[in-house]
Assembly symmetry: C3
């Protein structure tokens, strides 16, 4: 790829892509600004990295349209765009090419159940097990050793990496990316306590429904509903080792970071952001566009959209930060009390 | 199934099952009260849901024996029992039917080691790997791609879902349900620090022993003991993504919610409840019937049975709630101090 | 094994191994001091366990060189060494013998891609899937149902337990032990927010590089870098269910306990200890030999080596403990304020 190829490619996304300087050789791949080698392309989107501008060995750097580039060394060429970060993401997509999770077609070692429908261009990897009546959409990929139990539906252009398990009845939309070790549709954790102190299992008869354009991280678990569906909306992105319990509903384009845990029957709105290791008590509702800080614990519903919350119990950011600052000031409070006690003693002595 | 069938079935569990109203058609399945359709059965066990009594489309609703039903619409029939929640759980079990985790018999793609014993009616799924000298009880099911290393014992009527791993020597009792991705018997995390700052692995020579009627959630890990056994008692229920470290002993009928972590050599009594994301330091003991709140951290032993604890460090509920309330009142304390300072200043000025 | 065999064996590690008493029979295996049976060897390294000295049924007990043994029963023999704990660990290694994760050679049910190199004495278990151009070192073991995607390198003498997944390009050093369910090299969690509120995936083009002598726990996830490598140094030990996000660098001989979560682009120094359920915000740096307490949250870099930190936000141990003690004293502060208010009222009344 030449600089001109890259300029043309970025021109699809940006009105203006200005070239400063030049470099004749091929651009071989992307790299971080601090480790780029000659021939590579990098980017600077954050002022912190401007110091690398005259140190980098990159042959091409994507920078902000407003950046003044006078005096920088001539071996490096620059492309100036409105949003260099997004431009670089688009470039990464161009360089990345498709990952081969499984070879095209149905591996001879895969086991395919009865009444299975597999779309054109789909791949089923080695030792994958596809249960009866499953449906796999066109161009979708089922990784090696992945198990779909019966009646699982996977839409077009989705990728299930190796060693994923989808329990019976799971529905997955289009363009999903499900990473290894994820378990979709295991039983919700429901047991009815008995008088003798033992528990009777509450049958978990529902399913999991996953929308389009969803990414689910490695070893994440999403439990089936007791009745009906646990629902993961369109465009939802879930990181690794996240627990989504039975009967939850996660709204469209919500993002959930690693090791967060969503208890049963929680409804999260759309465009929310849930931080890492956050937790939820059960049966709560979050409105749209709520930000939950890392490690927060949601103990009540937040019906108002757009709120940022933090702490345990989580409360709106401003109150929580004020509260935390007061806690941090407890040493000063203690000193003031001691001072007051001394003064009081003095007054009493005088009195 | 007719209403009379359901009434007869519940009559096995309850002395009195009173029918109010009638519905002639078949009952096709269970549903939540707010989403039930004609032909479905639902229940109300909680006053919050009474508002649905005259809105629901369910053809049959299980309600509390004491509920007055005058004036409700005649299209819906009611069965009155002492405990409608448990009644509905029993009904769910009736409707659920058995899940097909693997077809009866030994799949031709499974690999069975030497000296393996497999009971009558047992199933071994596709590509499962059963190590030498394993024993699988009658009617038990080993899911596809599940691996039993050598010398693993599984009792009768147990189900291991796909992609479970049991390390060598693991013993699992009867009627177990082990969900996908669970890893039973991996090495405990034990390393002896050396003078040069490196670590020498402490061989983990013990096993994991799991009692009868245990359920273990997806992607949960239970480590083998260094010597002897990590023990999971009868009737224990463990949710997803839980860590039970080496040498732990979990008492009968204890329940552990998602993402909780039990450190090494912890002994938990019977009938305890451990909340989600709770944590434990190592080498501690909990008496029977202790409740650990979600996100609590147990930093010392609790030898007295029946205590509820909360917080980090966890302390008995009442003290912890009082402590938390005092913390929440820090703003008021600060104001009082400022008021006192003002008054003191005034007194001093007067003095 | 006789006592003399054990004495000779420990003589390789310790200058002085003194025998007190004697026992003629064979030593059949190791056991905990409180449960040892005749014929077994145990140890006492901690004063708390000295009470078992005259109760144990062990035939041999490893004790500290300085321990006075007059008056203990003659059926038990003792070996006195400088470090009985390490001595016992070495003994455990002698008794443990090698675990059979997979039989020697390549299982006929394994699927081996093109251009794969497999060293002498290596094992590939049943249904394992080895992608194109992978390299497996001498005497290494790939467990059943484990998947190596393309271009994965595993050094000599490493063990990957069953159901591990290594994504394409993963590099693993020598003498690694990777437990079941671990997922190495899944995509980092990176998405660029778009103006319409949806997200575009940032291609994760890097890899994971794991050094020598690393142990990785069950169901732990280590994500590939966006560009370049996520690096796990030599001798690192990681427990179960840990999340190491993209672009992290973990220094040599650092230990990470269960359920800890390291956010993206965090650099942890060498010889650090990270407690269970600890968390990190992204893009931070820890110097060498830092101890992070269990459940702590690291919110800023700690550039000074050797610091122990605790709390959320984590701060140096001493400050944090002082802060926590002050919080615990809030009840006393409240009482003092009330007392002052009473005295103030009295003064005002007098005034």
């Amino acid at each position: 790829m030449t600089i001109q190829d890259i300029r043309d490619y970025l021109g699809r996304y940006f009105d203006a892509v200005e070239l400063v300087g030049d470099y004749d050789g091929p651009i071989t791949g992307p790299a971080k600004i601090e480790t780029a080698r000659p021939g590579q392309v990098s980017f600077i989107a954050n002022e912190k990295y401007l110091k690398y501008l005259d140190q980098t060995n990159a042959s091409l750097v994507i920078v902000n349209a407003s950046l003044a580039l006078d005096g920088f060394k001539t071996e490096t060429a620059f492309l100036k765009v409105r949003d260099p970060y997004s431009a670089f993401v688009f470039l990464l997509q161009k360089f990345a090419g498709p990952r081969t999770v499984a070879a095209k077609g149905i591996s001879p070692t895969a086991v395919i159940g009865e009444g299975v429908s597999i779309g054109d261009g789909a791949s089923v990897g080695e030792h994958a097990v596809i249960g009866d009546r499953c449906s796999i959409g066109s161009n979708s990929v089922i990784g090696s050793n992945t198990v779909l139990m019966h009646d699982v539906t996977v839409g077009d252009d989705s990728v299930l990496c190796p060693n994923v398990v989808c329990y019976d009845g799971t529905k997955i939309g289009r363009r999903a990316m499900i990473h290894s070790g994820a378990v979709i549709g295991a039983d919700g954790f429901g047991f009815a306590p008995q008088r003798d102190g033992s528990y009777v299992k509450i049958p978990q008869m529902g399913i999991v429904e996953i929308g389009d354009d969803v990414e689910i991280g490695a070893n994440t678990t999403i439990d089936r509903a007791t009745m009906g569906s646990t629902v993961i909306g369109n465009g939802v992105k879930i990181d690794n080792l996240v627990q989504v319990a039975h009967n939850c509903r996660i709204g469209d384009h919500t993002v959930i970071a690693g090791q967060a845990g969503i208890s049963g029957s929680v409804t999260v709105g759309s465009h929310c952001m849930i931080g890492g290791q956050a937790g939820f008590l059960g049966h709560l509702e979050l409105a749209d566009r709520i930000h939950v800080a890392a490690r927060a614990v949601i103990t009540k519903s937040f019906p108002e959209r757009g709120v940022a919350v933090r702490g345990y119990p989580a409360q709106p950011m401003r109150e929580q930060l004020r509260y935390e600052a007061m806690l941090r000031g407890i040493g000063a409070m203690k000193e003031k009390i001691e001072l007051l006690e001394g003064e009081m003693q003095q007054l009493k002595n005088q009195g």
